[in-house]
C-alpha cells in the first residue's frame, strides 16, 4: 500500500530539483540566444551611427580604367570596406588597405570594368562590414 502511494520525499525533491535545473537550462539557453542576437543587432546599429567615411579625393580620367580613391575615416570607430561599386556594378579589382582606423586615410586603387568616356558621371559606392554605404559622384575628366 505504502509503495503504491507515491515516491519518497527525497526522490521527489531530487526529481523537482532536476526538473527545475533542466527548465532553467532551457530558458537560459533560449534567452541567451535571443539577448545575444538583440545585443548584436543594437550594437551594429550603434556602430553604424558612429561609422562615417568620405571619399576625400578621386580622379577619373577618360580612357583610363584605373581610379585612385582617397578615403578618410571621419567616424568614431574603425571601418572595414567590404565592397566598392561603380554605377551599381561591383568592382572586382580593388587594391589597398581596406581597414581604416579612426581619423586615418587610405589610398585605394580600383579598376573599372570598362574605359570611362569623357564627362560621364560615375557613382562610387563604398560598403562597409557593418552595412553602411557611402556614395560619391564623380565626373570623368576629359
Amino acid at each position: 500500500m505504502k509503495n503504491t502511494k507515491g515516491i519518497s520525499p527525497i526522490v521527489s525533491d531530487l526529481l523537482l530539483a532536476t526538473i527545475v535545473v533542466a527548465a532553467f537550462a532551457i530558458v537560459y539557453a533560449a534567452t541567451t540566444g535571443i539577448t545575444t542576437q538583440m545585443y548584436n543587432y543594437f550594437s551594429d546599429t550603434f556602430n553604424r551611427i558612429t561609422e562615417d567615411l568620405i571619399i576625400e579625393e578621386a580622379y577619373i580620367k577618360s580612357g583610363n580604367e584605373t581610379v585612385t580613391l582617397y578615403i578618410r575615416n571621419i567616424g568614431e570607430i574603425t571601418s572595414k570596406i567590404t565592397s566598392i561599386y561603380c554605377n551599381g556594378t561591383l568592382i572586382d579589382q580593388v587594391y589597398g588597405e581596406l581597414t581604416i582606423k579612426k581619423n586615418k586615410l587610405t589610398v585605394i586603387k580600383i579598376k573599372l570594368s570598362k574605359k570611362p568616356s569623357p564627362y560621364a558621371p560615375q557613382e562610387i559606392t563604398i560598403v562597409t562590414a557593418l552595412g553602411s554605404k557611402f556614395t560619391a559622384r564623380l565626373i570623368t575628366q576629359p
Binding site: 543594437f42 551611427i49 580622379y59 578618410r72
Partner: protein, 135 residues
C-alpha cells in the same frame, strides 16, 4: 508551512532579479543608443560649423606657401593637401583657430597656371583653389 513560506520568498526574489535584469538591459541599451545619437549629432553640427578657404598661394624661399583662413566658428585641423587630385601631403598637427589664418609650406613643389589645389580637414570639409598665375 515553513517550507512554503521560504519558497514564496525565493520565488519573489527570483522574479525581482529577472525584472531588474530586464530593466537594466533595456536601460543600458537605451543609454548606449542615446550616447551614439548624441555623438553623431555633435559630429554633424561641428562639420556644419567648420569652414576654411585658401586665400593666397605664394612663394617663400623657393617653397610654395599656402595661406588658409578659418572663416568658420570652430577650430579646424588640416588633414591633407592635394594638387591636381594627387595626395601631396598628410598633416598631423596643423590646427587653425576660428577666425585665424595659417601658412602651410610645401617643399619641392612647383605650381603652374591651372593647377587645382584642395585642402581637406579632418571633419571632411575642404577648400579648393585654382592657380591663376604661377606663384
Amino acid at each position: 508551512m515553513k517550507k512554503k513560506a521560504s519558497s514564496t520568498v525565493l520565488g519573489s526574489l527570483l522574479f525581482i532579479i529577472i525584472i531588474t535584469s530586464i530593466a537594466f538591459s533595456i536601460f543600458s541599451t537605451a543609454l548606449d543608443y542615446q550616447i551614439a545619437i548624441k555623438k553623431y549629432l555633435k559630429r554633424q553640427e561641428e562639420k556644419k560649423r567648420e569652414k576654411i578657404e585658401i586665400i593666397e598661394i605664394g612663394k617663400d624661399d623657393g617653397n610654395i606657401q599656402i595661406t588658409i583662413r578659418n572663416s568658420g566658428s570652430i577650430d579646424v585641423k588640416i588633414a591633407a593637401i592635394y594638387i591636381n587630385h594627387i595626395l601631396i601631403k598628410t598633416l598631423e598637427h596643423v590646427y587653425i583657430p576660428a577666425g585665424n589664418e595659417r601658412k602651410i609650406t610645401l617643399e619641392n613643389i612647383s605650381l603652374s597656371k591651372g593647377d587645382y589645389i584642395k585642402i581637406v580637414t579632418d571633419r571632411g570639409n575642404f577648400a579648393t583653389y585654382i592657380v591663376e598665375k604661377e606663384p
